[in-house]
Every structure is written in C-alpha cells, then in structure tokens.
Subunit: 196 residues, 4 copies
C-alpha cells in the first residue's frame, strides 16, 4: 500500500519536473534583441505571441494532468506509459513554437504546431479514459464528467480544424488554436481544476 | 480532502520546479570568456551584476510565494491561474536580464527589466490578495500583515519609478531596482519568511 | 526514523529532477528547420529517430529506478553513490544522442551511443543488486525477480552486441538498441512497474 | 506546526530542483564533435575531465546539504538566505567548468574554478554552523561532528591552496581540487550520508 502511494507520488513529481522544464526552456528562445531600442523589440512579436499561447497551453495541460491524477489510486503500467506518451507530445511544443516564431506564422510550421496540439489531446484523451475508469462513479458528478468530455472533444475538433485550415490560412488556423486554448480558461467549467 | 491536499502540494512542487529552472538557466548566459586572463573577466561585469540582482529577486519571489502558499488551504481555479500569470512574469526575468547585460545597462533594456519586475509585483499583489483572503485573521498578526503590505507597495513604487526614470537615467533606475530588492533582504521584517 | 524517510524521499526527488531535465533538454537539439516547408522537416529524421529512442530509454530507466527505490528503506552511502554513478551515465545520453543525429547514424557515434547504454545498464545492475539486497524475500515473488534479472541480462547482452557490431554495421547496431528498448515495453512482464 | 513543515519541505524541494538543473546543464557543454571518429573525441578530454570533477563535487554538495537539512526543524530566515547564497555559489560551477574546459586547464580559469569551490565551501560552513546549532547535542555523536568538521576544514584548505597554486601550476592546482573531492568519497566517514 505505501508502495502504491510511492508510485503515484513519483509519477506526479516526475511529470511536474518535465512540465516545469518544458514551460521554462521555451523562454530560452526569447533571445534579447541586438539593439537597445523599443523598435528592436517589435520583430519579436511572433516569438512573444507563440510563447504566450504555448505557455497557456502547457499550463492547461498541467492543470488537467494534475486534476486527473487526483482520481488515480493505482497507476497501472499502461497508465504510466500513456503518461510518458503524453509528456513526449508536450515536449514537442517548444520545437514547433520556435518554428512558428522563426517563420512568422508560415503555413507548414502552423500545421506542425496544430498537429502537436492534436497529438497532445489524443494522448490526453487516452490518459483521461484510463484515469477516470478507476474513479468511482460518485466521486465525479455525472454532469461534470459530461461537460469535461464535451469540452475535450470541442478543443480536439478545433485543433484538427486548425491543422487542416493552416496550409491555406495559417493566421486563421492560429486563431482557432487560440480559441481552443481560451475555451479552457473559463474557471466556472469543470476540468480546469474547478472541482478542486 | 486528500484530493485538496494533492492540489496544493502539486501546485507548490510545480512552482518550485519552474523557479528552480528559471534561477539556474540565467547562469547559461554566463558564457566563459575566450581568453584565459583576469582582464577577460572584466567585460563580464554587466552580466555578473544583472545576474546577481535577478538571482536575488527570484529568491525573494520564491520566499514570498512559499510564504503565501502556507496560508492557502483550498487553491481555487482563480488562484491557480494567478499563480500561472505570476510564474509567467518571473519567466521573463532571464530574457530582460540578458538584454540588460548585453547592452551594458542601456536605457530601453533597463526599462524592460524594471517593467518585468513591475509585472511580477502586480501578479504577486493579486496572488497575495487571494491567498490571504483564505487565511483566518488570527493566523497572521494584524501588524505583520500591515508591514508586509506596506513593503509590497513601497517595492512596487520603487519598480514603477525605476521604469519611468530608466529612459533618461538607466544607471539611476538600476540603482532603484537594487534598493527595492535590498528592501526585502531585512530578515527582521515579516514577509521574508520571518513568520516561519 | 523520520530522518531515514527524508533521505529516501530526497534521493527520489533529486533523481526525478535529474531525469526530468535530461529527458527534456534533448528536445533543445530539435532545432526548427530554416525553411517553412515539409521538405525541410525531412533531414530532421535522424534527430527525431534518435530522440524517440533516447526518450523511451530514459523513460524505462526512470520506471526501473522508481520501481527499485520502492524496495529501499535505508539508502546506504554506497547505494547513494551508485545512484549518482547511474544518473551520471544517464546524463551522457543527450550527448551521444546528438552525435548520432548529427552524423546520421555513423559508426563511431552509434558505438558511443551503445556504450553509454551499456554504462547505464552496468550502473543499473549494481543499483538493482544493492536495492534488492534490502528487500525481504517475500516482498518480491521469486519468479518476478528471476524474470526481471533475465530481462536485464538480455538487454545488457543486446547493448554489448550493438556496441561490437556498430563499427561495421551501425544501422544494424541501432536496430539492436531499439530491440533492447522494445523488450522493456511489454507491460505484462515485471520490471516495468508491472508490480505496481 | 504543519506550516513549519511546509517551509523545510519546500526548501528541500526547491534546492533539489536547483541542484538537479545545475548538475545536468553542465552536460549541455558536452557538444558532439563534428567528425564521426574516435580521434574527434580526444580533444574533448578537458571537457570530460572537468565535467566528471564538477559532477562529483555537486553530488557531494547535495549529499552534505541533504544531510544537514535533516537536522533542521525550523528554518530561520537567516538559514534560508544562507541556503540561497550556497545555491548561488554552486550555480557558478557550470560557468567555471566550461572556462577550464575551453582553455584546457589554463592558469586563470583554474584559479576561478578553485575560487568558486572556496566560495561554495564558505557558504557551506555557514550553512553547517546554523543548521547544527539547532540539532540537539545527542542527535549527532560528538566524534562524528568533530570528524565532519575536520574534513570540511581540510577540504577548505585544499581548495584555498589550489587557488593560490593555480596561477603558477594550474595542473597541480587541479590535482589538489581532485584530492579534496576524493576526500569526501570515503563512505566510512560521516558527512557523506554515513549517518543515514
């Protein structure tokens, strides 16, 4: 029994470490401009924009991850591997964020950006499925569970649409990604820690 | 109840991870000089100076963060998001620190440096407001609470003044930032863990 | 007694931090391509391939590490130092991963890649030996213990073979490394947290 | 009371995070050589050597840090600040390590390398003094305490000597640093977790 606790605690601690490093190494791409003028800051806007969106996305992912792990008592080997796949998907975010910023929201990089978000959502949906299977029905109200699921699928749909749209209208696709991220920022809805 | 504990513990663990990465990636900007002489170390002084100030600032922010979190029993979704905003502001410190160092304390970079500190303070004041709202009145003596607030506002005023002054007298502005940081180093005052 | 707990907990926390940083700094080598085209992504395949293999390997190492630490009640100084040697070996993975990727699986880099995996396995076998010496016999079923040991030796053999083969057939050697990694991915076998 | 626990736990968690990042970002300086040959690995020996010594040094510092923190029940503001000074000193290790490696153990870089070790030891001796002041006399046997102190002073003396010698005989100074590090590797002596 204490050994099971150890597993879930170390899984959380390790995941927290990975999230913390991912969310902060993105800032390493915010290289200071060469000239000490306000004008020199202007060309940094694509970097700044994609950094803000990616930071918010990783924050949401962490929130949902921590939320789900609270219902997990016995991490099965399968759940641990889904968690690694999930963290792997998240670890690609700094790469696509830098590409989007470097190319100033060009078509293919935005496609890759949205594709990584789709990958993260896919791994997350698997993670949710396995984590909640353990939670007893009464622990999470039926309505909260349904709302959380609806939101997950809506966000997933928005990311897929963004991916498809990106090759013709990269800006529009980036806007869709932002919408999906904003969707999660409503604190009154469950799934953003609203059950905490 | 154990689930609520999980939330506050993981919030602390994740924040600690972010603080730890931020405070140490700044050292990556301390690139070794090309020549193996004492003279080669000299041009590094702006980097060293800004590194010391930023390190101390992040240390203070961590101290206050940990201090406030001790009074938080039930992290609301709002508090979690204020915490993310707070960490986001702190994650900009390495960027402005590098800019100040690269340009040897030029006007606009010092402005940006002070602006990030103002942003951190704003997020911190929000964080303080929400975290202490939960703490029962008797937990923190009235005088300690008042002193902590006075100091927060004084530091905030110094950072804003530094921001305004920086465009004309960057060195003077940097000095004001140092004063605000030194203000927090008095251990006899509460707020620096003095209540620990 | 509470002091002993502190030791094992901090050893786990520190190791988790190191694993988290190692597994995520490899992503820093995934530099975005210059051109915003799908074709520009193609030359990244050696980087992507070696990143996936190394990520999976570190994930397995973490799993086994966490698994063993659950049986450790009293970390002796010797065990702590074996743990540091183990972490040191793992910390070389990003270096050889980058070399393999940069040279597109050339002979010597693949040799170094396999050699680091052999080094990690050697340190792990030592770690396993010392950690399990403390666990009482009934805690781990005899069969599970035997299967875990057989697998460790099989993986070790594959890594050594990969090392020898690499100088003539680097691709074949890389395939052997992949086989050894896949060997650990069977969740029904003990040793991948299957006892959790 | 639970609030005091929170302080010491978060201090340990934050310090662990900083140690974990410092010990692993040094590996970022192990850049893969351009050519895929064994000969290309040879010029990396100063980097490899200084990496091994610095890794071992940080491992020892972590061991002593964790050892002392076990005797600390009530971290005073002063102790927290000494801890920050200690971590600051350790955070300079990757910088001097890279300089020593880049210049292949030139005189001034080895001087700076030894100077940072002296700085770490000074902060550690302060940390030890304040942490042990809280521990009751019977908790640590008199002999263990005395041996630990003797070793600290011997190591400190070796680091200072290395600093002085380095400007004329950098190799000799580097050897002295290695001796001081090896001094801590004897597990039968207390101070390396021997009391665990």
């Amino acid at each position: 029994m204490p050994q099971r606790r150890a597993t879930i605690e170390r899984l959380a601690a390790f995941s927290d470490g990975v999230f913390a490093v991912i969310i902060t190494i993105m800032v390493l791409d915010l290289r200071p401009p060469e000239h000490p003028t306000f004008a020199a800051l202007l060309p940094l806007w694509p970097t700044a924009l994609s950094y803000v969106v990616s930071y918010t996305f990783v924050a949401i992912v962490w929130l949902n991850h921590h939320h789900l792990l609270r219902f997990t008592e016995y991490p099965t080997p399968r759940l641990i591997w889904i968690n690694f796949a999930h963290l792997f998907a998240v670890s690609l975010v700094p790469f696509t964020t830098a590409w989007v910023a470097d190319t100033r929201l060009a078509a293919v990089p935005v496609f890759a950006y949205a594709a990584v978000f789709v990958f993260v959502e896919l791994a997350y949906l698997q993670f949710e499925h396995h984590a909640l299977a353990q939670a007893e029905a009464q622990e999470i109200p039926h309505r909260a569970r349904k709302l959380a699921k609806q939101r997950s699928f809506l966000a997933f749909g928005l990311f897929v649409t963004a991916m498809l749209v990106s090759l013709w209208f990269p800006w529009c696709a980036f806007g869709l990604v932002c919408c999906a991220v904003l969707l999660y920022l409503q604190p009154e809805l469950p799934g953003t820690g609203g059950l905490a």
